[in-house]
Symmetry: C2
Subunit: 201 residues, 2 copies
């Protein structure tokens, strides 16, 4: 909701294109999404897309970079942090990040391995790997690592690809989804400390 009634049109085009592109990348896949497709869907010409973004890869980067930066921030905080509530805090922030950036997360987590050649994706993959390592070092149990992988990948799957598998009414509003994800991801990513059903605190 911009206070400025006319956002100078200039920024709007780029933002529109970013959003449309991200939507297509997440649902159809980066490789399968053509610039023409994005342009048509956004009401521009392909040339306009390439005017605002120097390449398809640059468009991808512009679309998902913020989410990656935020993910890196969450990761750095987790690595630097200590204490027993560490994993719980990680879970909370990961859930928020997933809900706020489903499409971007789908791109760099689900499609990540197949797009590793792109620098921005490589950066995201590296962050994911560092998180996996951090979890792995903390507890050597294989079960724990599998829980972590299933939790992270499964949540990303559920919020993006998995949505098409359930009726529209099955998956409820984001509010309830957030709570539910807290519970389930809490079981998976922080199996040690049971938070007695939260109540915030």
């Amino acid at each position: 909701m911009p206070i400025d009634a006319q956002p100078t049109t200039r920024v709007r085009a780029a933002d529109e294109l970013k959003q449309v592109a991200l939507e297509q990348f997440a649902t159809v896949g980066f490789a399968a999404t053509s610039l023409q497709h994005i342009a048509d869907h956004a009401g521009y010409s392909k040339s306009s897309v390439l005017y605002h973004f120097t390449s398809k890869e640059a468009l991808l980067e512009a679309a998902i970079e913020p989410a990656i930066s935020e993910f890196e921030a969450v990761l750095d905080d987790f690595i630097a942090g200590r204490g027993s509530g560490r994993r719980r805090r990680l879970v909370a922030r990961v859930v928020d990040l997933l809900l706020d950036n489903r499409q971007a997360v789908h791109v760099f987590l689900i499609q990540g391995p197949s797009l590793a050649e792109l620098p921005i994706i490589a950066r995201a993959n590296d962050a994911v790997r560092r998180l996996a390592d951090a979890i792995g070092e903390e507890r050597e149990s294989v079960v724990d690592q599998v829980r972590f992988g299933i939790g992270l990948g499964g949540a990303a799957f559920l919020l993006t690809a998995g949505r098409s598998f359930s009726d529209a009414d099955a998956l409820p509003a984001d509010d309830e989804l957030r709570e539910v994800l807290h519970v389930v991801l809490g079981e998976l990513l922080a199996p040690g400390d049971r938070p007695h059903q939260t109540t915030t605190d």
Copy 2:
């Protein structure tokens, strides 16, 4: 290592192509995998690929149909079956199916929504949806449905895309992985009945 020294060559080409194609489809994605790529990787020409399979789509179908049929069998057995051990049996069979058909599962589960236009994928998506509905009817709890989605999608993610996020030594042999998946998926898909950590171990 086939006992038959010369498997008549005829079948071999098609099988080789199927395997190479499935590998590429799972790692790079169906849309991003070209017939030329598959042909080069398998040591044939693109024309040869199209001789054995009438189209790229037909090649995909030949590569993943067996896994889909098996998945449908597991599903039908679960829907028809009753009793408390029903979910545990589902978990066991799903784990085996995942381990034996990682690549195919990755294609029709992870890439499924973006390939829904292909009949064979539509069939697989329908099966997944039926399974989700069956789980949903049994227990209306949203948490349960989320556990199911995360378990299924997360396991598929872990066994395919997620592998590239961990060092080669991190994820162990299939035997141990099978046990671990039994435990974790058991927690997620059959949260009701706790099998007391199963004997074995």
